[in-house]
């Protein structure tokens, strides 16, 4: 990902990394783990260590992320990594000129990573580790860092016309893409090797890391070579971009490949696949509540893996290197969770970039359309809560799906794409990047020798990149001062399908809360207007666990209490009213996960101005911030549903993180 940024236009500076992991629940019983599968706890610790060692050494802050849990990721865990880069406005377009040298710079080529791209797209099985070990590329962060320093130095002096990283497919796709129109001839024996013995084919397709391909005018080559030498990077011309439209490969002068570029890029006939989508039947909500009360369920939600603090991971990543961080992943005096994380683009300048992440993976098998729009709205809401301008948001989509040759699986993909389209068009937020990984199926033989298979749940990760002109207007999620008022902005429904209440096993069935775009857009604009006038002391979007969890998180971050009344929550027409003596009705209002809602904290003296600006929006005052260190939830003025120490909420929220911190690394 870092090299993708480096290989864009005339080279962009990597600014921040984010990572999202999807794994099976950490307490998955050992006896249910198929052969060849790494237990989820060991796997997650390993992945975290990998990202930590590479990202930290590169000096790129890892500022945002998420971990999502679902049993379906057991044999096929997902790791999403992203990098945000920055470049001068006039450096966006790289253009190869005929006669330019094909220069490979950075690491040497070896046998590691042969067929890496193929490996990442095939079905995995219990034998994969043995069969495909050589497909895994071996990275070296310091080489990558020196390559980065070299590329940025060369870019500053305009020493190359275009640049691409050697990613999937290695030189074959890097040179192939750069020479797609002009064509190129390459002498493969000139490629510097880690060791002897590679065939021409292996050199051409190896995905060995830390390599960039540059198009360099012969007149600039001497200076480029000098810059490379100063930075301690190996750079070697291996051929020429010709202009004759042929991709020609030689090995010691012998022709080993010659294909027409147009045929190579356009020659493949388009495949047609069939898709079917059968909308799932929603069963009525079924509750499993025995001795529970409101407080025990709320604590259970805070402890649940998706919601719980990820501090044990966050603190292992350097999220502050480069000095640009403005809102960090943990905020406030007591370290509550952030919505978006925010960094400055350039040190000393006020403009900021916000990153929000939305992942509604529990909806994947129930309603892929709502998973997509819900995820996108959540990612955007994160940005809005922290201060982003709703009119300047860009999106990324990452699809991970099962076997899309199956019509029903393809059907869910089509539904998710429809959701992406509708969300992007309605919110006027363009998709600027994305990636897909299809075919995430794991097969194994059980003890009886029966072949089993498991697909991941359809998973769409949405990322939103927002902008703010002046980072001093950023808002954090932690409560600021006792006596301030709390409002809930946005309309609430009480559907529970796919919610965290279902994940913790308290409900089954139920409708999925649908995104109401019109309401969302109004809400986004209202929050932005309030922010611009500095009327919000804190703001938090409601996501996993709904209102109850969001309140708890704001209290945890600020180390302050709150007193709110569920009767005041603005419900839509279908919403079930909360009744003091009916736990289920209370949980519906407090834990439903209708997307596009925000809690805001407002100073008393700003209340009337907020009243004025929010006229025409769906919203209501629901309570106040308190200094009694208690979260008090009422249903009606005189009926206290629960009164829980914030410390107790914090302990529950941090329980898993504390266990993992003290666990093995």
């Amino acid at each position: 990902m870092i090299r993708d940024v480096l290989g864009t236009g005339h080279g962009a500076k990597p600014l921040a990394n984010l990572d999202v992991f999807c794994v099976a629940p950490l307490n998955t019983p050992a006896k249910t783990i198929p052969p060849g599968v790494i237990p989820p706890k060991k796997l997650l610790h390993g992945v975290v260590a990998g990202v930590r060692d590479y990202g930290n050494r590169m000096g790129i802050p890892t500022i945002a992320g998420a971990v999502a849990f679902h049993p379906g990721y057991l044999g096929n865990p997902l790791v999403f990594c992203g990098t945000v880069g920055l470049m001068p406005r006039d450096s966006a377009d790289g253009r190869v000129e005929p006669g330019d040298l094909v220069v490979v710079a950075g690491g040497r080529t070896g046998r590691d990573g042969i067929h890496g791209a193929t490996f990442s797209s095939i079905e995995l099985s219990s034998e994969s580790e043995n069969q495909s070990g050589g497909s895994v590329q071996i990275g070296h962060a310091i080489h990558e860092k020196t390559v980065t320093d070299f590329v940025l130095a060369a870019s500053e002096e305009h020493l190359f016309h275009a640049i691409t990283d050697c990613g999937a497919g290695g030189l074959s796709s890097a040179v192939g893409e750069m020479g797609a129109e002009l064509g190129a001839e390459v002498d493969l024996e000139k490629v510097p090797l880690k060791y002897d013995g590679l065939s021409a084919t292996e050199v051409w397709i190896s995905e060995a890391q830390e390599r960039m391909v540059l198009a360099v005018s012969p007149s600039e080559w001497p200076r480029l070579a000098e810059v490379a030498r100063l930075e301690g990077v190996e750079a070697t011309p291996i051929g020429t971009f010709t202009g004759n439209g042929q991709l020609a490969l030689r090995w010691d002068g012998e022709r080993v490949g010659d294909l027409n570029c147009h045929f190579l890029h356009e020659g493949r006939p388009r495949e047609r696949l069939r898709s079917i989508f059968t909308p799932p039947q929603h069963l009525p909500v079924c509750w499993s509540l025995e001795n529970e009360n409101f407080e025990t369920v709320l604590l259970e939600l805070l402890r649940s893996e998706d919601v719980a603090s990820k501090e044990w991971i966050i603190r292992q990543y350097d999220h502050e290197v480069q000095g640009k961080s403005v809102l960090k992943p943990l905020l406030g005096p007591m370290g509550g969770p952030a919505d978006a994380t925010v960094i400055r683009g350039v040190l000393g300048r006020p403009r900021g970039i916000l990153i929000g992440i939305g992942l509604r993976h529990h909806l994947g098998t129930i309603d892929p359309f709502e998973m997509a729009v819900g995820g996108i709205v959540e990612a955007v809401s994160n940005c809005i809560a922290s201060g982003a301008d709703p009119e300047r948001i860009a999106l990324l989509d990452n699809f991970c799906w099962g076997d899309c040759r199956r019509p029903d699986s393809l059907g869910t993909l089509v539904e998710a794409c429809r959701g992406c389209y509708e969300a992007a068009v309605t919110l006027k937020a363009p998709f600027v990047s994305g990636k897909d990984s299809l075919n995430n199926v794991f097969t194994w033989k059980d003890n009886a020798g029966v072949v089993k298979e498991q697909s991941i749940p359809p998973t769409l990760l949405a990322t939103a990149i927002g902008q703010i002109n002046d980072v001093s207007l950023c808002v954090s999620s932690d409560f600021k001062r006792a006596g301030n008022r709390i409002a809930l902005v946005g309309i609430s429904t009480t559907e529970l399908g796919g919610s965290q209440l279902a994940v913790i096993g308290r409900t089954t069935g139920g409708e999925i809360p649908k995104v109401d775009f019109k309401n969302c857009q109004n809400t986004f604009k209202s929050i932005y207007d309030l922010n611009q006038q500095r009327l919000i002391a804190s703001c938090h979007d409601l996501s996993d666990g709904g209102l109850g969890v969001a309140l708890a998180e704001m209290a945890i971050g600020g180390g302050l209490g709150a007193d709110i009344n569920l009767e005041k929550v603005p419900l839509d027409d279908t919403g079930n009213l909360a009744k003091p003596d009916e736990l289920m009705s209370l949980l519906r209002v407090a834990c439903a996960e209708t997307p596009g809602r925000f809690l805001i904290e407002v100073k008393e003296e700003n209340a009337s101005e907020v009243d004025r600006i929010l006229q025409g929006s769906t919203w209501s005052w629901i309570g106040t911030v308190t200094n009694d260190s208690l979260l008090t939830i009422r249903c009606g003025e005189d009926s206290v549903v629960t009164q829980t120490l914030v410390h107790k909420l914090a302990t529950a929220w941090r329980e898993q993180s504390t266990a993992q911190t003290h666990g093995k690394s």
Binding site: Q316, G323, L331, G332, L347, K480, S538
Partner: protein, 259 residues
């Protein structure tokens, strides 16, 4: 009056050079980031500077021991240059990996017995990298960088920050000479902090002249209020951070010398 100039050393794996340069510039200085190879080729480059700064990062990947290879390069190829630089009144600061490098060069402990390295920064007691904010207490003594500082917060971000010495005697020697000028302090609840298990909660130390200083926390990451994790809604976003004082102090001292 000449404007004080700071040389920010960079090499393979250095990654805090830009924000450190920014910190010196915000404090009113001029900076240049120079690659260790370029400096080793032309040591006279250092003549134009009054401050020599080794910023944070993972120099050469820290593959042998943190800071070891860069320290060897500095000692072998620039040892005399740096000693002369220090003797003519130059200031040397090493931050995080730079502190690890400084300790490995022996510049902070020139009189350690037997010529062996007598103090080091080793793996955190937790065995893990940690990024968090921490309360510190300065007891500046003659350390020019810490003048006027008492209790303040800075972030730490390292996997190898546990200060330790070859034996207790040497530890006491350094302590009694007042070289431990920066300690991890008690937090607001009165709990002693120590993110890495350092002996005596040492967060930073200087040489006996007070002009060579190394520390694990990152002053360059708290130059302005918005870098603090709890600034939003609590601090004036345009206020200075405690870390800026380090760089202002250095420039002030040099400014006086430059007259």
């Amino acid at each position: 009056m000449l404007s004080p100039r700071a040389l920010i050393l960079r090499g393979p794996g250095t990654n805090c050079d830009q924000e450190t340069a920014y910190a010196f510039e915000r404090a009113g200085g001029h900076t240049k980031r120079i690659h260790v190879q370029a400096l080793a080729q032309s040591p006279s480059l250092l003549d134009d500077f009054q401050i020599f700064c080794i910023p944070g990062g993972f120099s050469y990947g820290d593959d042998i021991a943190s800071g070891r290879i860069l320290a060897i390069e500095l000692t072998e190829r620039l040892g005399d240059t740096l000693r002369r630089f220090h003797e003519r009144g130059g200031l040397i600061i090493g931050i995080c990996n730079g502190f690890q490098v400084l300790l490995q060069t022996g510049l902070l402990t020139p009189d350690s017995t037997s010529g062996k390295q007598a103090a080091t920064l080793t793996r955190n007691a937790s065995g893990r990298f940690i990024d968090c904010w921490i309360r510190l207490q300065a007891t500046p003594g003659n350390c020019v960088f810490l003048r006027g500082l008492d209790h303040f917060e800075l972030p730490v971000a390292h996997a190898e920050g546990r200060f330790t010495t070859v034996d207790k005697t040497f530890l006491q020697q350094l302590d009694s000479r007042g070289q431990f000028v920066l300690h991890y302090a008690k937090d607001r609840n009165g709990q002693q902090t120590n993110p890495n298990g350092s002996e005596q909660n040492v967060a930073g130390m200087c040489d006996t002249t007070g002009r060579i200083f190394g520390l694990m926390p990152h002053p360059e990451r708290f130059i302005e209020a918005t870098q603090h994790p709890a600034w939003a809604g609590r601090l004036d976003p345009h206020a200075d951070g405690a870390g800026l004082t380090f760089f202002r102090n250095a420039l002030r001292v040099i400014g006086k010398d430059l007259g």
